[in-house]
């Protein structure tokens, strides 16, 4: 019996040798660039390096991070960004997709137009918005001036800085979401709309009673993905407001992680903060995985 098992193993190994060979490259890449850094981060969160000596410090890094007044502000800012990004970045692409879906002609061109901002390098897009938002010579205030509307402070005020960051972020990222929604909408059987029309439903009722139920799963998945992505926002606040904004109003959790690591040389604090974010996002990720499975089944 053992001899047979060994023989089977040898045969299976031989049979799968090529597959394993191909797999090794990917496994090495993931090991080196994903798993190893994750393990290191976990260890770093409980270590401190001073005078070239690394020692275990238990929960000290977490305590230090929790006592930083910037910690709670960063979480508030991140949650505010997430909430605003959901209102703008979740609803807007869906509405645009619904409108696009109604077009019978030139839909390809319109799809391209909507997707164009995604193809722009993020840094270029952000710098473009930085120019638009400038209170002196910016495009937005000029446009408001032409319309005889009062100029806004945009990034220069603690009240509007985060909203301005969200507007830029939504413009940059909504193309992908729009196309996914559009694909989902195009999977909704036309007969359902016809039946709704026969029942006297208008546009809004058709959306509410046909479109939303038919695309509920995609909407849920996109919502979770959006939450996971927006809670890790970095590029937009970092480039638009130097990662701080008026009185730190745009410092997000990931920006704070960056500051701990690269401005203050406190990798332990950065890792501890990263772990906090990981724990929170794991919950959303688990929900996402579960919904994905439901979708497959």
């Amino acid at each position: 019996m053992p001899a047979t098992a060994a023989e089977d193993f040898r045969r299976a190994f031989k049979r799968n040798l090529t597959a394993h060979g191909f797999l090794i490259g990917a496994v090495l890449c993931f090991s080196f660039f994903s798993w190893y850094p994750m393990v290191r981060e976990f260890l770093l969160a409980f270590q401190k390096t001073e005078a070239g000596t690394t020692r275990w410090v238990g929960w000290d890094n977490f305590r230090h991070v929790f006592q930083d007044p910037g910690f709670w502000q960063a979480w508030r800012n991140t949650l505010l960004f997430t909430a605003l990004a959901l209102v703008l970045g979740f609803l807007l692409p869906f509405l645009v997709a619904v409108v696009l879906n109604e077009f019978r002609h030139a839909q390809g061109y319109l799809r391209l137009l909507v997707y164009l901002p995604v193809m722009m390098p993020p840094v270029a897009s952000v710098l473009l918005f930085k120019y638009f938002y400038d209170p002196g010579y910016g495009l937005f205030n000029r446009a408001l001036g032409v319309l005889h509307l009062p100029a806004q402070d945009w990034l220069q005020s603690g009240d509007t800085a985060m909203l301005s960051v969200v507007i830029a972020s939504t413009w940059m990222n909504m193309g992908s979401a729009t196309l996914i929604y559009l694909a989902a909408l195009q999977g909704v059987p036309g007969e359902l709309y016809e039946a709704a029309e026969l029942d006297g439903a208008g546009l809004l009722r058709k959306i509410w009673h046909v479109t939303v139920p038919q695309t509920k799963l995609v909407l849920s998945l996109m919502l979770l993905m959006q939450i996971i992505a927006t809670m890790q926002v970095f590029t937009e606040p970092f480039l638009l407001t130097g990662g701080a904004g008026p009185e730190g109003s745009t410092t997000t959790v990931v920006v704070l992680i960056y500051q701990y690591a690269f401005n203050f040389n406190q990798y332990g604090g950065a890792a501890a903060l990263g772990l906090c974010l990981l724990v929170l996002l794991s919950g959303f990720s688990a929900l996402y995985v579960r919904l994905s499975r439901d979708n497959e089944s």
């Binding site: 496994v27 090991s31 001073e50 930083d68 910037g70 690269f262």
Partner: protein
């Protein structure tokens, strides 16, 4: 069952391979070619470099190709150095833009990927030591290896020491003053030869310059990326205040600190003399001033070089006065350190190169006649770390080749302000003070007292946690 066994075995195999590969990576990264490798020379720090020992020194901050004149001089210096030390190969590395970007520097230290001889700001010493990144070179730096050693300002050398051990050699130092745009001063009917000496005078001058209109700001300030806190610190020093007191606690939430905040708030909101665009960082004010849109800001003299060489401004357009208040000024600078683990010969070669390139009067960076011939500016008041006979000789050589309108710096030079080092945990403290600055400059209704009180609490918490 069997397929599960197979899967598990295969997975274990792949994991083992991955671990082996990672271990291999670890080995290679720890042996990056710069570790201590006895190269045949003497380990005795006091003996000169063995001419038979072949040494290759990697060194950063070599001028990039865009700085053609500086690069030419670097190459000439290497050639001249090699006449005396043919056994030393200088492997220069250049970076476009700034030599040192703090985030990159921090990551480099963590990865231990710094070159043998690496450029660092004075304030970087703590993080370099935390990462065990630099050699103690005390025994190698003597009047024999660095002839001008006794004439180097002890305060400047002191910032590169910790517990009596020397970890670097200075390349340049600065003290901050008030940089002015002479053209705008003249247009506003102000005398650019006598820049404002107090904050009241700064405010009055800023108001007149801003009145020129066309988007011109009288005075500019930073408020993000820790630069706001940096400038708030300079302003505090100027008025005789401090950021961290002798008791190790925050020392800025007091009448002096509130006076600075109130003055800035008044300039921004009552006088409207600081422009509408705020949340500025290093580089932003220079752009405004180089394009004649800004009258004044706190700066070091080398900001002028940046504006001329990178932004196309003209030297004669700028002047400097002492820091308003004049009680003290923020002092800083940069230098080179030698990577921990370097062999004795490498350290000797590095000290010899640094002495030749950055510390010898009449040589390297102090060959003013060559700088003049190459069209580079001569006559900036800093670096100024020599004292005694070396200073006298350096001043003489500089004056003989001066290409700059040195009279524009007369107010700065004639009224020397004592330099004061940055506070402990400078970058973290600056980050906290950024909020005070951005609050004052972006919120008309900002409560400066509350902002300072919150910052004081945060700084005390930070200092207590260390």
């Amino acid at each position: 069952m069997r397929s599960s066994l197979l899967r598990n075995t295969a997975a274990a195999l792949v994991c083992a391979l991955a671990v082996t590969a990672l271990a291999g990576c670890g080995t290679s990264s720890s042996g990056d070619g710069t570790s201590a490798q006895p190269s045949g020379g003497s380990a005795d720090a006091t003996t000169p470099l063995d001419p038979k020992a072949k040494v290759t020194l990697s060194i950063d901050c070599m001028p990039p190709a865009a700085k053609a004149a500086e690069l030419k001089e670097w190459k000439e210096d290497v050639a001249e150095f090699n006449k005396r030390y043919p056994n030393v190969t200088i492997d220069g590395r250049s970076t476009p833009g700034q030599c040192l970007e703090p985030p990159r520097f921090t990551a480099m230290l963590k990865a231990k990927s710094q070159p043998d001889v690496f450029y660092a700001y004075f304030t970087d010493l703590q993080q370099v030591l935390d990462n065990d990144g630099a050699e103690d070179i005390s025994a190698y730096v003597t009047p024999q290896s660095v002839p001008a050693l006794d004439d180097i300002d002890k305060n400047v050398l002191g910032v590169l020491k910790r517990d009596g051990k020397l970890y670097g050699l200075p390349t340049s130092n600065y003290t901050m003053g008030l940089l002015v745009n002479r053209k705008l001063f003249q247009q506003a009917g102000l005398n650019p030869d006598t820049p404002p000496r107090t904050w009241e005078e700064v405010r009055a001058a800023a108001k007149r310059i801003a009145a020129l209109g066309n988007g011109t700001a009288g005075y500019g300030e930073y408020s993000v990326e820790n630069t706001g806190g940096w400038h708030y610190t300079a302003a505090m020093y100027g008025l005789g205040g401090d950021i961290v007191g002798a008791d190790g606690k925050a020392a800025f939430n007091n009448p002096t600190g509130r006076q600075i905040a109130a003055n800035l708030h008044a300039m921004r909101w009552e006088d409207d003399s600081m422009g509408k665009t705020q949340l500025l960082k290093w580089g932003d004010l220079q752009k405004q001033m180089a394009s004649d849109k800004l009258g004044m800001f706190l700066a070091a003299p080398d900001d002028i070089t940046y504006m001329v060489q990178q932004l196309g401004a003209k030297y004669e357009n700028f002047g400097m006065g002492p820091l308003p208040g004049g009680a003290a000024t923020l002092a800083g600078g940069n230098g080179y350190m030698i990577k921990k683990g370097s062999s004795s010969d490498k350290i000797k070669a590095a000290v010899a190169w640094l002495d030749f390139k950055t510390l010898a009067v009449g040589k390297g960076q102090f060959r003013y006649d060559r700088s003049k011939a190459d069209g580079l500016p001569v006559g900036l008041p800093q670096p100024a770390f020599f004292t005694g006979a070396s200073k006298a000789k350096d001043d003489e050589l500089k004056a003989a080749s001066a290409t700059m309108p040195v009279a524009n710096f007369k107010a700065f030079l004639d009224n020397p302000v004592p330099g004061k080092a940055e506070p402990q945990k400078a970058q973290e403290v600056y980050k906290i003070l950024d909020k005070v600055m951005s609050g004052i400059l972006t919120d008309k209704n900002a409560d400066a007292a509350q902002l300072l009180a919150e910052a004081e609490k945060a700084v005390n918490q930070l200092l207590a946690n260390r």
